[in-house]
């Protein structure tokens, strides 16, 4: 009933308006009608209006987050590989837009957002049972639950796609599909439930034991995918010829387009996580943009100093690192701390992909771990430092008093929670991914054979070429 205002009048085109009209012209004309009736009509109308504004932003945000995977990530990664693997790499992002969608509809949404154990949701929402137009006030009281469902789906799509940067240019397509489905079930859904699901272990808003702040997915999205990426890189081993051969990007041009679309889409990812077109959405939007900007500068300057030339690849990698790091913090921090978080992420990730990676010699081909694993962890921890109720006063104690959030609010303990949350994400990612890789290896085998790798995934796996310029 609470939500009737959303279901009925909204359904028919124009219908809604006549409803209001009826009510309100009523509110003018028909003398007899009682003031309370008029107030009730206005009350319904104002809820409809609030929902329109919030839903407009959330549908836009959902579309933006999908855009991050395709073409955003597909281009960013596709440009970084060698020409012979461009399509196979783009496909690893694109196909997840399809696969995860079906998985999400069947069990994913339920396992994440249904109430259940602190570790996983139950199956009440399986096959989207009961997930309709009526809002789910636990999560977002002013938008249809289906808007929330499809918005969260887009997160479930991009997270496994991020991992593909680590096993690029050498994994079987069949193995990649199997891996992804299992990874979503075993790593992503549980982690997302713990942080965002009602009653989840780490849920800061809905009764988690260890309240952890993760506004848009630092632990859930970036630590899980980045750390799993490292495990994949180690398990699969290096590409033939790595590191002796340079294996430089075949088209940084494509990667620049991809990075820009990621930046653009990330506004939906972070500001959308306010779940409405509110002032909080604005704060998250600003923090996101500032974090990306400062990180691009951080990476560029340190690279300029250390290697003599500021590369375009560095600038775009930097902005992505900043976007990653600001993700958990975006709904909690002020603009200048956002600049700081971004800058630190840019510098740290630069060293991760230039020094650390070479020191340890793993082939994290497109730096999924160096950027998402490292950046995500940095962001998760710094969120505990800079989170402030000046930006997000939504957390109240029993007495209804606004709570101190991060260290800057005087709640240093939060940093510990952030560390615990990050640690859980690390452990889950490492253990889960290892198990899954063993399974896939046993069932279908992970790596394409030597000849196929030399020939390239495009021809050997998909029977195509990315570019055919002869005729």
């Amino acid at each position: 009933m609470d939500t009737g205002f959303l279901c009925n009048p909204e359904k028919e085109i124009g219908m809604k308006f006549f409803t209001l009209l009826m009510f309100s012209s009523a509110a003018m004309a028909q003398a007899p009608q009682s003031v309370d009736a008029k107030l009730a009509a206005l009350d319904a109308a104002v809820k409809s209006a609030q929902s329109a504004g919030d839903n407009a932003w959330m549908l836009t945000s959902a579309a933006l987050v999908l855009l991050m995977t395709g073409p955003g990530l597909a281009l960013f990664y596709g440009g970084l590989v060698r020409r012979k693997n461009v399509l196979g790499t783009m496909m690893q992002s694109f196909i997840l837009m399809a696969v995860i969608t079906v998985l999400w509809a069947i069990v994913g949404y339920s396992l994440v957002f249904a109430e259940g154990s602190p570790f996983l949701g139950d199956l009440r929402y399986a096959f989207l049972r009961g997930v309709g137009i009526a809002p789910n006030p636990d999560y977002a009281a002013t938008i249809p639950q289906q808007t929330y469902m499809v918005y969260q789906l887009m997160f479930a799509i991009i997270t496994p796609a991020l991992i593909s940067g680590a096993f690029a240019e050498r994994m079987k397509f069949s193995a990649m599909l199997l891996f992804t489905v299992l990874w979503a079930l075993i790593v992503y859904f549980p982690m997302a439930h713990m942080v965002w699901g009602k009653g989840g272990l780490l849920n800061a808003a809905l009764g988690g034991k260890i309240p952890t702040f993760d506004f848009a997915g630092g632990t859930v999205v970036h630590i899980t995918s980045g750390v799993s990426a490292l495990v994949c890189a180690l398990y699969l081993g290096k590409r033939l010829g790595y590191p002796h051969e340079p294996m430089k990007p075949h088209s940084v041009v494509l990667s620049v387009i991809g990075a820009c679309l990621l930046w653009f889409g990330w506004f939906g990812f972070n500001a959308g996580s306010a779940l409405g077109a509110s002032g909080l959405a604005t704060s998250a939007f600003v923090a996101t943009h500032f974090g990306a900007a400062a990180a691009a500068l951080g990476w560029t300057f340190v690279e300029w100093i250390r290697s003599g030339k500021p590369s375009v690849l560095g600038a775009i990698s930097g902005c992505v690192a900043g976007l990653v790091a600001i993700t958990p913090a975006s709904g909690f921090v002020q603009p200048f701390p956002a600049l700081l978080i971004g800058f630190m992420a840019g510098v740290i990730c630069y060293f991760m992909v230039t020094l650390v990676k070479h020191r340890f010699g793993y082939d994290d081909s497109l730096d999924a771990f160096g950027v998402h694993g490292a950046g995500g962890t940095v962001g998760a921890i710094l969120t505990g430092v800079f989170a402030t109720n000046l930006i997000n006063d939504g957390f109240k104690d029993s007495a209804g008093k606004v709570m101190a959030l991060g260290w800057v609010d005087g709640n240093g303990a939060q940093v510990v929670n952030q560390l615990i949350g990050s640690a859980i994400a690390w452990v889950l990612a490492i253990v889960g991914t290892l198990v899954i890789l063993k399974i896939c290896d046993a069932l279908v085998g992970l790596r394409i054979d030597k000849d196929a790798e030399i020939q390239g995934m495009d021809v050997s796996l998909h029977g195509e070429e990315g570019y055919f310029f002869e005729t």
């Binding site: 340079p246 430089k248 990007p249 030339k309 690849l313 630069y350 230039t354 990676k357």
Partner: protein, 112 residues
């Protein structure tokens, strides 16, 4: 007939083409190649790893000329393509056993 194969700096292609036109040499075939020689390439850094790109873009010009015009063409080529810096490139000359114009089966010098 001789075939002249000149490997030159790409940015010298225009002047060379002009110079050849000037002495009435029209027919030529160009190929983009990459060369390796005394000229050291440039350094590239990728993800912090520095490596030397020692294959540099060059333009290969092939033209078949009558023995009579050989020296004149060689002179024209070298002067037009020269900067005096390492990397200017090389010219190689080969004997041509036969030349045919596909359009009308002209053979020998008539085909050039």
């Amino acid at each position: 007939m001789k075939k002249i194969e000149a490997i030159i700096q790409p940015f010298k292609m225009e002047p060379v083409k002009e110079a050849l036109k000037a002495i009435g040499i029209d027919g030529m075939t160009l190929t983009e190649v990459r060369g390796h020689g005394r000229q050291k390439g440039h350094k590239e850094v990728y993800r912090g790893q520095e490596y030397n790109v020692d294959l540099l873009p060059k333009m290969k010009i092939e033209l078949v000329v009558s023995d009579a015009r050989l020296e004149e063409v060689l002179r024209t080529l070298t002067t037009a393509a020269r900067t005096g810096k390492i990397g200017d490139g090389k010219i190689f000359v080969y004997d041509v056993a036969e030349a045919i114009r596909i359009r009308n089966d002209d053979r020998g010098e008539a085909a050039l």
